[in-house]
Amino acid sequence: MMFYINKTNCISPQQTFGDIDIEQLHASVDNKLKVLEPPYPAFTANAIRRMSKSTRMGCGAALPLLADSTQPDGIIIGTQVSGMEENGKFLNQIIEYDEDMLTPGNFVQGTPNTISSQIALISNNKNYNITHVHRGLAFENAVIDTAMLLNESPQSTYLLGGVDEICANNHTLDTLADWFKKEDCANNDLYKSNTNGSLSGEGAAMFYVSNNKTNALAQLKAITTIHNTDVDVVKEHIRNFLLQNLPQGEKIDLLLSGENGDKRALHYYTFCEQLLDSGTPVARFKHLCGEYPTASSFALWLACNFVSGQATVPEHMLKKAAKVSALKNILIYNTHKTAQHSCMLVSIP
């Protein structure tokens, strides 16, 4: 099962929305990579005021894709806890006002299906609508759902997205759980770091997808997910994934690696690199977007731009000097918190 990506949009901590410029790296601030939010001409001031940040950037990235397209037959979003900032505000109300005289707005905006449902509401789309929340594989499950939908209904089109936001609560909880660095670390030094944790990130990447190859940017050729911490199991799984899905005689021309400066995750990425021909260029992306559960959607956006030639791989992404040319097959490998892993194979259409 696979599909074509016909259009894509991304709001991220880098200049990825509108005029794309990923050569110039925007710096992290206080160990966080926050999105550069564009103006949102499609929303009224009142609508924006009520939206959570994740809903704002999710709708902001999605709606331009829908503007001059056929109404998609479904909206499929992956997110770990979008709306958690709103949840946090409601949590604070509960405790600080001792469960009395609360306003429900934050509670309603805090449910993670707000993104998919707001896109549906604004674009008056009454079709299939779903939200996958499976932490570090939330976006991958959304991809699998979309691939199944296109297998079931080959003429259809779908809107697929991955969104997560940095908010005070998830940043604090994940820092306590040792997943974000406690010492100061700048994003351009991320891979030199040899401690636990990464930098906190966020973003929204949206894809308009179908079985229509005409004018497609890229083809999502295959995807797999793994739940395991055993590096040998993960390595074997990736090896099989490549054997089964990489056409004979072809090779991986670029590995998009989710390496994130967390010393506990490094060996998974190293083993993955060793599975490929020596000399295969490796490009890392977490210093651009930070670590978040649906960061693989940012990687898929990058892969679409690289295989379609809309962007070239900037020097600062390359792990070691390499010549990147004639990109046909890109492997995205990512692990979230070392227990969830995924591979996506992205090719020219």
């Binding site: 949590l91 449910t111 509401l121 079709n127 779903i130 939200t131 594989l137 499950n141 699998i144 609560n169």
Partner: protein
């Protein structure tokens, strides 16, 4: 294509800790909605009625032999129902760990059930951090996955009150698309200060036991629980006990308002219609509808209108929220179990507390237990964000 059959079920709710206990309560019309169970801290516990699982979190943990730290009540209830379902289906360890066995679970509160702990951890308590890794929705299924060393597809869904209907639908689609051979699908939610205050702030919690589809309904009661189904392909079911087939599903969005349904009920109508078409059935084939029927002003009126628009004359229908309260992310899975019992036992359970039909609509649910010939049951679930899903179960 093989039919998809239900070969195992597990449920824990305010009316019982197993399928058998739930069945006895349904037959006897015995509600689980009470004031003052006291297993969750909130100023409203004991004041407003709730449908609580009357087992403390510590007891649940002991009963399930869970000794790892960081496992929430939401997860424990899920594990309880999951264990019953896999035992009931006779799944072997080899099947559980096989890469063609998938787990799809839903929850809307997940680790947010620990409202006070989360507040403390995000406001300076950096010592008591047992639960900081469990705050999200996926924590539930990631625990079950790792507990049973599952290697197939694992997924978590949250579309508010229709979450576990979507988990069931997704599990069926995994089988049909060849991504799994068998799936364990369901949902869980525990009562929490967080959700209680959310619904209370929306002013849709009733101060009495809920009265779905009644003219004088005052709102919903929240409940807690979990349920899982084991779904297998017909060819794999062998001589196993088969409870029913999942014959159709439909998902649609109301695209109207974040927390209420459109007056015309477009989302509910489209979800039901698409489930019928997916099942290749006509409205006249449906013998019974397990309605969403929360007891709120908005839902029951809109759902009635949407059913009337689609069915003309309504088949027998009832809401079981008067037994279990609204269990949110568990609701569709629990009601799937009840819908399957309708088929397996050939009987209908009452819509509790109904007295007077809604003015201008006039539809009347089943109000007493009765044996009935049941081939096809539709089960409705509608959630915040306009996320509507209908499932159809059929006699196998």
């Amino acid at each position: 294509m093989d039919r998809i059959l239900v070969t195992g079920m597990g449920v824990i709710s305010a009316i019982g800790n197993s399928v058998d206990e739930n069945h006895i309560a349904l037959v006897n019309g015995k509600t689980g909605i009470i004031k003052g169970g006291g297993n969750f801290p909130s100023r409203y516990a004991g004041i407003l009625p709730f449908a609580e699982v009357l087992m403390s979190t510590a007891d649940l943990r002991a009963r399930l032999h869970v000794t790892e730290p960081g496992v929430t009540r939401t997860t424990l209830m899920a594990l309880h129902a999951f264990n019953e379902a896999i035992a009931n289906a006779g799944l072997t360890d080899a099947q559980l760990t096989a890469d063609d066995t998938a787990l799809v679970g839903a929850t809307t509160v997940g680790g947010m059930c620990l409202t006070d702990e989360l507040y403390a951890n995000t406001h300076g308590d950096h010592e008591n951090i047992e639960y900081v890794g469990s705050y999200d929705y996926a924590s539930v299924n990631l625990f079950i996955q790792s507990h049973y060393k599952m290697t197939g597809v694992v997924n978590t869904m949250n579309t508010a009150c229709s979450s576990s209907a979507n988990a069931i639908m997704y599990g069926c689609r995994l089988i049909k698309n060849g991504l799994a051979r068998r799936v364990i699908v369901g949902g869980t939610d525990s009562l929490a200060k967080f959700t209680v205050n959310g619904f209370n702030a929306l002013r849709i919690l009733s101060d009495e036991a809920c009265t779905p589809f009644d003219e004088n309904r005052k709102g919903l009661n929240l409940g807690e629980g979990a349920a899982f189904l084991v779904l297998e392909k017909e060819a794999d079911a062998g001589d196993k006990k088969v409870y029913a087939a999942v014959s159709g599903y439909g998902n649609a969005n109301d695209a109207y308002h974040p927390s209420s349904l459109s007056p015309g009920g477009d989302g509910p109508y489209l979800a039901m219609k698409s489930a019928l078409s997916n099942a290749n059935l006509t409205p006249a084939d449906i013998d019974f509808i397990n309605a969403h029927g929360t007891g709120t002003e908005n839902n029951d009126e809109v759902e009635s209108r949407a059913m009337l628009n689609l069915f003309g004359a309504l088949p027998n229908f009832a809401s079981t929220k008067g037994f279990t309260g609204h269990t949110l992310g568990a609701a569709s899975a629990i009601e799937a179990v009840y819908s399957i019992l309708n088929i397996d036992r050939q009987e209908l359970y009452p819509n509790l507390n109904f007295k007077q039909p809604i003015t201008g609509i006039g539809v009347q649910p089943v109000v007493a237990y009765k044996p009935a010939k049941i081939n096809h049951v539709m089960s409705n679930s509608f959630g915040f964000g306009g996320n509507c899903t209908s499932l159809i179960f059929s006699k196998a």
